[in-house]
């Protein structure tokens, strides 16, 4: 460790003011503080000392994502093996999964990292671990069959238009990972959802949401899902086709537990999401009938384990920058995300999944919600004062 420290210091001198590599100081600083505790102290007030700075927050989110990443690798391999109809040994499945998932993650980091460094160097900003989070979140929301050049285009758009044009980390209105995904969703719809995704050697399998949306009127959705090989438990554990990281509700729950214990995610937002989803799905469930969409008849709790809802609610909606910041605001924000997700999912035939659009939509409204919550609070206090 000491050796590393010495070497870093030695290299670091090259990046100081007036030295040849001065321009690339942010790059050096990022690596230095990523590996070691920052050696610099604050020179101006406020001198708040806290172990959990932004770097640690971001790293904690990455740690919380580990179950999802592992599950992503295993399930991708498993689904491909299943499609090919071969016997699956554990390590065989993992190898196939790695071959599919690792290139997507590597390309994401290379392309996104390029823009991140470019903007940091020209603006003399720091590079921070926020990008590690954005990159992995983005990669986990893509289908495994996506062409790698599209991965690069999407993350470039996400980093530049989702984050950098607003002024960089902490200033973004929208979740950059979702902006990147949304770009791909609208620019190259055939590669990100629909019937050509998840085609492995000519064999394709519809995702649970696609099956549910395609169920003819009058038929039972649950039955249709079960005929397609989906039941509550395998959707909960995540052995289903879908975007690579989103399939397993269990993995998301483990991540959620970690985020809640470390108090990084707001439990109010997650609870709001679940509440909104159950409310809307419950309403649809009560409205079901022979002349309505059969999707209405899906039991509300099934919605929780389908598609990207769990992943979105735990990791995307709770992004502290783009979410509401007041406690009441968080409830409203979460609730509406859940509500809109189901609404888009069930009623809109063009979009099989609604979580991404619901979160982006509510990102736009988060500041407005906060504004009204604060205004309301001020009004109440003012009234109390008058009495």
């Amino acid at each position: 460790m000491q050796f590393l420290e010495k070497q870093l210091k030695k290299v670091g001198q090259l990046f100081e003011r007036g030295r040849p590599l001065e321009k690339f100081y942010p790059l050096y600083e990022a690596i230095d503080t990523f590996l070691l505790t920052p050696g610099k102290t604050a020179t101006r007030a406020p001198f708040v000392h806290d172990a959990i700075d932004m770097k640690r927050v971001m790293i904690f989110v990455v740690i919380a994502l580990i179950p999802c990443i592992l599950m992503a690798i295993y399930n991708t391999g498993y689904q491909i093996e299943l499609a090919k109809g071969m016997g699956h040994s554990f390590w065989g499945v993992v190898t196939i999964g790695l071959v599919k998932v690792i290139p997507i993650i590597v390309v994401t980091y290379l392309a996104g990292g390029f823009w991140e460094v470019l903007f940091a160097v020209t603006r003399r900003h720091e590079i921070n671990e926020g990008f590690l989070v954005t990159g992995i979140l983005y990669a986990l929301t893509l289908p495994p069959t996506i062409p790698l050049w599209q991965v690069a285009v999407g993350i470039s758009f996400g980093v530049v238009f989702g984050k950098e044009i607003f002024g960089g980390t902490g200033m973004n209105v929208f979740n950059p990972a979702l902006v990147g995904r949304a770009f791909l969703f609208f620019a190259y719809p055939a590669q990100i959802s629909g019937s050509t995704v998840w085609v492995v050697d000519g064999y394709s399998r519809a995702t649970p949401l696609a099956v549910a949306a395609a169920t003819p009127k009058g038929a039972s959705v649950v039955q249709a899902l079960q005929e397609a090989g989906y039941n509550f438990s395998n959707m909960f554990y995540g052995f289903i086709p879908g975007s690579i990281g989103e399939t397993s509700t269990l993995a998301c729950l483990i991540g959620l537990a970690f985020l809640l214990i470390t108090r990084i995610a707001s439990w109010r937002i997650v609870a709001g999401c679940v509440g909104g989803l159950l409310t809307m799905a419950g309403l649809f469930y009560l409205m079901q009938g022979p002349d309505r969409l059969s999707f209405f008849g899906l039991p509300p709790h099934w919605h929780l384990v389908m598609g990207g809802f769990a992943f979105g609610a735990v990791f995307m909606a709770t992004d502290p920058v783009s979410a509401s910041a007041t406690n009441i605001g968080r409830w409203i924000y979460g609730f509406l995300i859940g509500l809109l997700s189901v609404l888009i999912r069930v009623v809109n035939p063009a979009y099989p999944e609604g979580v991404m659009l619901a979160i982006l939509f509510m990102n736009a409204f988060a500041p407005l919600i906060d504004y009204f919550v604060v205004e309301n609070h001020i009004k109440k206090r003012a009234k109390r004062q008058l009495r």
Partner: protein, 211 residues
């Protein structure tokens, strides 16, 4: 006192309209048509020509009669002149380029409501002599055209792989898995390109907010 046709003052009028106070990237006017008619290069060019003609023409006409227009009814007078020009363009397009006319559809007629035309009339032609007004109208038309044509070209290449209707992206790329960008055909794609144009133009021309 006779002023040279291209005196330094007049040159500045030209430069302002085309670059420093470009109607799209500086004044943020005419955005509607910049989004609507730029899916193909051809449509963008025809639209640009039409708008440049109308801005320059109406600027001259209004500038000539500017001292006889009662201020209370100046807008309606301006509108009458602009509509006359717009209608003649529309009719000409219908007569000689019916396909393009159909493609541009209502947007030729809507030049009349284009903020650039009215903006230049109010801001410039009402207070300047005809030649200067002509230069101003021309410059703003050209400034608008430059952005429109650039966006039209980029959108056509990225969105449908063609330029002026001729395929420009090699077949090899498609067989390698390249796909046209569906967003570029939609209005949001134009919005993003427009944003990038504003960004580039303003960083080169050194624009500062509230300066």
């Amino acid at each position: 006192m006779a002023e040279a046709l291209f005196s330094s003052k007049n040159q500045k009028i030209l430069k302002d309209g085309m670059w420093d106070t470009n109607p799209i990237t500086f004044q943020i006017l005419g955005i509607c048509s910049a989004l609507a008619v730029t899916t193909q290069l051809k449509a963008a060019i025809i639209m640009s020509l039409g708008l440049t003609f109308v801005t320059a023409g109406s600027n001259v006409v209004i500038s000539i009669i500017r001292n006889y227009i009662p201020p209370q009814i100046r807008i309606i007078v301006q509108l009458t002149v602009v509509s006359a020009l717009v209608i003649s363009i529309d009719q000409a397009l219908r007569a000689y380029m019916f396909d393009v006319s159909k493609q541009l559809s209502v947007f030729v007629g809507l030049i009349i409501t284009n903020c650039i035309v009215m903006g230049r009339l109010e801001a410039f032609a009402m207070g300047n002599p005809p030649w200067k007004s002509f230069l101003d109208g021309l410059a703003n038309g050209v400034g608008y055209s430059a952005i429109l044509i650039a966006i039209g070209a980029i959108r056509e290449i990225l969105g449908s792989g063609k330029l002026w209707g001729i395929p420009v992206i090699p077949e090899l790329l498609y067989t390698q898995g390249y796909v046209n960008n569906g967003m570029m055909v939609l209005a949001p794609g134009a919005f993003f390109l427009l944003g990038i144009m504003v960004w580039i133009q303003r960083s080169i021309s050194g624009y500062k907010e509230n300066s």
